[in-house]
Amino acid sequence: MSAVANAAAAKRSGPDAVTIGGWALLAVVGVVLLIAPAIFDSYWVSQILTQALWLGIAAVSLTFLNRYGGMVSLAQVAIYGVAGFAMANVVHTLNSEGGLNLGWTPWLGVAFGIGVAVLVGLLFGAIASRSYGIYFLMITLALSLFVFYFFGQVTQLSGFGGVRSVSRPGLVGDTITHPTPLYYVCLGCSVAVYALLRYVVRTPFGVALQGVRDDPERMRSLGYNVPLHRTLAFTLGAFVAAIAGILSVWFDTQISPGSIDITQTIAVLIIAVIGGLSRLEGAWLGAIAYAVINYYARQHTPTLGLWLNPGRFATIIGIVFLLIVLLSPDGLIGIGGKIRRAIGRRYGGGGARPAESEEAGAGEQAEVPAAAGTPASGTRGGLNQRRA
């Protein structure tokens, strides 16, 4: 049985499937998000939820690359930075505050920013596509730092302290005085990105990509162009990250080299891991958790005194990260499946049936090909190694 067929089998009954219950849950979450501006106070909507939505888009580009391509990329923040800087430079900025200020219309700037980022993604993907595992991680980290230092040094493009007061389309408007439109734009983009990625992984390309993830040598011997598949997947990831980059500039009203530094690179990785690398939805769940922890950790709480203060946030997020990695490698999104399987074992009497493992994610993924009679051998690529 070929790796493609394995992946196809995984597609039908495997961890990607969304059950009726899953769809119902998604629908409830969707409705809550839709009416969020009516039920949450404005700070929650404008800062925590909006930030979580665009951070989720950035993280889902990483989740997608890891889950379906076996690539743990640290270049996603760099790519969204390229999109952000490209757009910020060509559109109008108030008072010429940094950047080229070419005065293009905002939508043209968006198209340009995404276009440049996708091209950069294609280039980066071509460079990195032949390496695997830790080497892929290191190459993308180097590319990420390269972009950070590029914008730090070429001040014609990054301004004195970033490109500021970047003009936004009328649809988005002033994001500080009227934050709700940006929230809905972020929500719409999130839904679109989620739908796009779910669609792509079901196309022949997506299935072949999963084959490449599981066994590159076998796919090569079957005649697939492995580096090309990986490069194109990376480029798709770059497209998604670019959308997050555009939204981040609208959210912050500016972009500076500091917005895409190593801290942010790590933050996006943490979000993806906390949420769960096994499912696309995990990216947004991780982003919400990250934004909420960030908010509460920074509150001035005299009752707690100096407990973990002022590095409280880094410590808490570090503990959460540690707990997730050790206790639920599938992230927060995997906890639901774990609980359901535990209930199933206790009351169902017969252990986890395949139907119960749809939320199980990575842990079960290796078992699907194993059950189909093929040893899951030679899995490559960073975090994927634990699946073997």
């Binding site: 302290g161 970033g162 500080i176 009752t303 005194g305 100096l306």
Partner: protein
């Protein structure tokens, strides 16, 4: 299934280890400050009670950095601002660490309520998120901060979208913040990075006879701004410069040292952090010790760690700085006693030796103190009136000057930017012990350098400002420091 069963004891073990590890981390982090948590817990109830009973409270948020390059000065910043409220407005510290908060205190009859502390990491994005949290979630109506350059540009821009609130800079020194952004409700009572070197170039030209200087600067915003102060000043007097800009954090300066011409009259170093010492050492190894009176530098050259390691031949080097450590003025003495009164006990939250007064001449402490002072003075003048979009307070702040500020009088210009006194110190060596000794004060240093910098001139950069002869208010008027 078999595989799963086999793995589960291992998983359980890792889980136990993980929980134990986390427990240890929490105990370790909490333990160091357990004494202060108890006292702050006791006082917190009274804070919330006071806030609830008074709707006219002054809701103040203080912005600083708790991570990044300046994270160590978080408590120095907060302590600087709060020391003023404690010493002059009747507030009480909730614990030895400034960030445990204050209780009580009134200005013009209005209770002071610290709504939160901003914890950024010297990036504009983090500062913007933190200031929005203080304003939009914690409902601060007055913000003191932020700490560093890029942050202040972001906060000043943000202040334009909140015209009914008041923002007073902490200690950020970017030029654009006030010169270009010009937000009507953003006020800065400290000099920018260029002002901190005012007079050094002029003294080097007039007193040391420099005509051509080599300027080596960190290749980023603060390095350029800091060097801009020297270049503008030195060129204004008639000198010429060669510029070198190694990246921030360079460890091997040999290629840059090779680019320094063999013949120059003097060298100005705007290399900071770990680079200062690396550069000086490598220079002396490659080219021999600096000849007498051929070295000057920005604030980093006067850093105690640099002084301790500095080559004997570097004695005599000039250092530009906005404060000084050897002052004997009554104003500085009053300031230091305020710091001592507010935070008498040493705390681990401050750099060693742990008392706020030991950081008195740090810009991180004094600039936040001055910001709180200016706020107090303006609020008192308008009797705490925050109505009408705080318009009365804005008008009063623009007119507020601090003639008795610890390190020289402060007034504001039309961009609400401080006109300050700057200091020029000299590295000394008394009995083998290196030190620093203030030799000149430079009065009335304005941000525009007599019109050389304007809202439309390019920001300081690798090639900016251009080298032009120009008239400056303080040219030839540097006064021998009066407290010697």
């Amino acid at each position: 299934m078999e595989r799963k069963i086999k793995r589960s004891p291992l998983r359980r073990l890792t889980a136990i280890i993980a929980i134990a590890g986390c427990g240890l981390v929490i105990v370790a982090c909490g333990g160091s400050s357990s004494s202060s948590s108890a006292s702050s817990a006791a006082s917190s109830t009274s804070t919330s009670g006071a806030a609830a009973s008074s709707s006219n409270a002054l809701r103040i948020g203080i912005m600083s950095d708790c991570a990044g390059a300046f994270g160590a000065f978080y408590n120095a910043d907060i302590g600087g601002a709060q020391a003023y409220f404690i010493a002059h407005d009747g507030a009480k510290a909730s614990g030895p660490a400034p960030s445990s908060g204050i209780t009580g205190g009134t200005i013009a009859g209005h209770p002071i309520k610290i709504v939160g502390y901003g914890c950024a990491n010297d990036t504009a994005a983090s500062a913007l998120r933190e200031v929005r949290r203080l304003v939009e979630a914690d409902h601060a109506n007055i913000v003191i901060g932020p700490l560093s350059g890029d942050e202040s540009i972001a906060v000043a821009n943000y202040s334009k979208t909140q015209p009914n609130l008041t923002f007073i800079n902490g200690t950020a020194g970017a030029q654009d913040t006030t010169l270009k952004v010009q937000s009507p409700n953003f006020f800065r009572y400290n000099g920018d990075g260029a002002q901190w070197n005012a007079g050094v170039g002029d003294v080097a030209y007039r007193k040391l006879g420099w005509r051509h200087a080599v300027v080596i600067m960190d290749d980023y915003a603060f390095g350029w701004t800091s060097a801009a102060g020297f270049i503008a000043d030195f060129c204004a007097a008639g000198g010429t410069v060669t510029r070198l800009y190694p990246p921030l954090g360079t460890t091997d300066y040999s290629s840059y040292i090779a680019q320094i011409p063999q013949k120059f009259d003097g060298l100005f170093s705007a290399v900071g952090g770990t680079g200062t010492l690396a550069f000086l050492k490598q220079y002396t190894q490659a080219r021999g010790a600096f000849k007498k009176n051929t070295l000057a530098g920005n604030i980093f050259l006067g850093d105690p760690a640099i002084l301790a390691a500095i080559h004997a031949a570097d004695v005599g080097a000039l250092v530009g700085q906005p404060t000084n450590e050897d002052t004997t003025s009554a104003n500085a003495a009053a300031y230091m006693s305020a710091l001592k009164q507010a935070y008498p006990a040493p705390t681990t939250s401050l750099p060693k030796p742990g008392t706020l007064v030991s950081l008195a001449n740090s810009v991180f402490t004094v600039n936040y103190y001055d910001a709180a002072w200016a706020l107090d003075k303006a609020l008192t003048a308008v009797h705490g009136d925050l109505s009408n979009g705080q318009s009365a307070l804005h008008a009063a702040l623009a007119k507020t000057s601090l003639p008795d500020a610890p390190y020289g009088p402060i007034t504001l210009d039309k961009n609400r930017q401080a006109i300050v006194t700057n200091y020029i110190a000299q590295v000394t060596n008394t009995g083998g012990k290196p030190g620093i000794h203030t030799i000149y004060s430079v009065p009335n240093v304005d941000e525009a350098f007599g019109g050389l910098f304007t809202a439309t001139t390019p920001s300081p950069g690798r090639g900016q400002p251009t080298c032009v002869k120009h008239a400056l208010a303080w040219q030839g008027k540097e006064q021998p420091a009066s407290f010697h």
